[in-house]
């Protein structure tokens, strides 16, 4: 995919991410303060403003701009986490002019590494890592088996959704929910749901 195609994809992804506000707020209200959807909407609206009509040199610079915009307008915990996800591959993919299956794998895995670093979160802590981490694994497995970009992304999106669902059975170890202990059981984590939505939306838009 070319820089322009990635830019167009990021715009569509951001637009789609602003359409789930109520659902994400409701998920957050069970054990959080119920405004996760508003934060996601605000962040991705800023992403749209930041990249619409601009010209970018490389695909990764589109994502870096998106990450900066998201981080600067949202703050909280989700700002640095989503921001570092988008910015994670900025060094490794600095030179890449077109992205295929290999570049997207680097993008996803670097994003995961950055999120874990910034959020000091691991698998099983009931955070967005629990959607992203299985997605990265599924992507890598599909790619090792020779799948094309869109197929790899589809596997990643399936795994992210399953991972987000699995947070129902996890006791939170990070964020505000961690102070609830077992009371956090039974609800899907709002951050993990956002992450799985994001990967699903991307998978619907990538093409080989």
């Amino acid at each position: 995919m070319t820089t322009q195609e990635i830019q167009q994809m990021m715009l569509s992804v951001a637009e789609e991410m602003t359409r789930h506000t109520e659902m994400l707020c409701e998920l957050d209200s069970y054990i959080g303060d119920g405004d996760h959807g508003i934060t996601i909407e605000r962040g991705f609206k800023a992403v749209m403003e930041q990249i619409d009509g601009k010209s970018f040199e490389t695909p990764v610079s589109v994502f870096v701009a998106a990450g900066d915009a998201f981080m600067n307008t949202t703050g909280g915990a989700i700002g640095p986490l989503m921001g570092s996800f988008f910015r994670g591959a900025r060094k490794k993919l600095a030179e890449a002019r077109e992205w295929g299956a290999e570049e997207f794998e680097v993008f996803l895995s670097s994003g995961l590494r950055q999120i874990k670093l910034v959020g000091e979160a691991n698998e099983g802590d009931r955070t967005l890592v629990d959607a992203l981490s299985p997605a990265v694994d599924a992507y890598s497995k599909a790619r090792a088996e020779g799948a094309a970009l869109d197929e790899c992304m589809k596997k990643a999106a399936d795994a992210a959704e399953a991972g987000a669902q699995a947070t129902k059975n996890m006791i939170a170890k990070k964020g505000r929910a961690k102070f609830l202990g077992e009371k956090s059981l039974g609800y899907v984590d709002a951050g993990a749901t956002s992450m799985s939505l994001l990967i699903r939306t991307m998978s619907n838009l990538v093409h080989s």
Partner: protein
């Protein structure tokens, strides 16, 4: 149906901050277009400046403790959402005159992440800056894991004493030492009686059944880890005092300062009832109350409830506590 004095949801924090600055115009200054609340009269150059970044919705919150002998800057995000680290960094640079900076963080996930971002950006600029955490809420991690606990309203004790030392000309290292000492001598526990309504979503949050009191509810009214039957102030407050005393522990003969922090809908009448229950109960455990503060400082919208904080004094902390300070929410002359 939510009945609150509001305009457009997206304007709430801008309007809140502008209004708070206007009602305290002789003490506070808010540059137009920013969320950077600062002292109207800046601190003398060369003295340690105390800064913080956090979320709104807790008015007055830490904005109320900006002023002489207290904070120099509070950079606010949206409601219940820490300000972005990059924006916090810009705010710090906007008051930077080369004086040392103490960057303070109340231990909440978003505040820590964004505080760390701002801190590392300041370090890249070779600024003289140090970072301190505040944690005091005993409901949020067991004894022995104090550093995992969240920051609560007891932060007033560190702000007041470290702020006084900064005003006296204490070095950055000394101000850090006093901040940490006051923190380590502070314990806080909260109790919530009702729910609150999110000003943007209109959702009712953190509902507590009529016959229960929610102990350890936290500053966003999250469902606490424990609840007890709702009963008389003396019984509920007595139990909270015991939990605080046993956690520290505060020993017979200790002198403490008591902070009763209303969450928004608890009246001054009730806080006064609570205050005398606290005095009575800690006296029965041989502990002496040196000073008390009660009021709505770090609130959770219109939730009924309060948090109770104790600070164990020594000669140094007592002296610094008695130094003059002047801020919208707390003044000592």
């Amino acid at each position: 149906m939510m009945k609150k004095f509001l305009n457009k949801p997206e304007d709430i924090m801008d309007e809140t901050m502008r209004g708070y600055a206007q009602t305290n115009r002789r003490k506070l200054y808010l540059p137009e277009g920013t969320h950077n609340m600062m002292r109207r009269e800046p601190k003398k150059k060369g003295l340690v400046k105390l800064v913080v970044g956090n979320g709104g919705g807790h008015e007055p919150g830490l904005m109320g403790w900006i002023g002489y002998g207290m904070y120099d800057l509070d950079c606010l995000g949206n409601f219940f959402t820490a300000q972005a680290g990059t924006v916090f960094y810009d705010a710090i640079r906007s008051i930077d005159d080369g004086s040392p900076i103490l960057l303070t963080i109340s231990n909440h996930a978003g505040d820590v992440m964004n505080g760390n971002i701002a801190y590392s950006m300041c370090l890249e600029d070779d600024m003289e800056i140090r970072k301190v955490l505040f944690y005091d809420d005993i409901a949020t991690a067991p004894k022995g894991q104090e550093e995992e606990r969240r920051g609560g309203a007891g932060m007033l004790f560190s702000i007041k004493t470290a702020g006084a030392l900064a005003e006296r000309g204490g070095s950055l290292d000394e101000v850090v030492r006093v901040w940490n000492k006051a923190r380590d001598n502070t314990r806080t526990l909260s109790i919530a009686l009702t729910s609150w309504t999110h000003p943007a979503t209109g959702e009712v949050m953190a509902s507590t059944p009529d016959d229960l009191a929610n102990i350890g509810a936290g500053v966003h009214g999250e469902a606490g880890p424990a609840s007890m039957p709702f009963t008389s102030s003396a019984v509920m407050i007595g139990k909270m005092c015991d939990m605080l005393i046993d956690d520290m522990p505060y020993n017979p003969g200790d002198e403490i300062i008591v902070l009763i922090n209303g969450m928004g809908a608890t009246s001054m009448m009730e806080m006064s009832v609570v205050a005398q229950d606290v005095d009575k109960h800690v006296a029965s455990r041989g502990i002496k109350v040196y000073d008390s503060v009660a009021g709505n400082f770090v609130t959770t919208q219109e939730m009924a409830g309060l948090s109770l904080s104790f600070l164990k004094l020594d000669d140094e902390l007592k002296e610094l506590w008695n130094d003059p300070c002047s801020s919208p929410a707390y003044t000592n002359r």
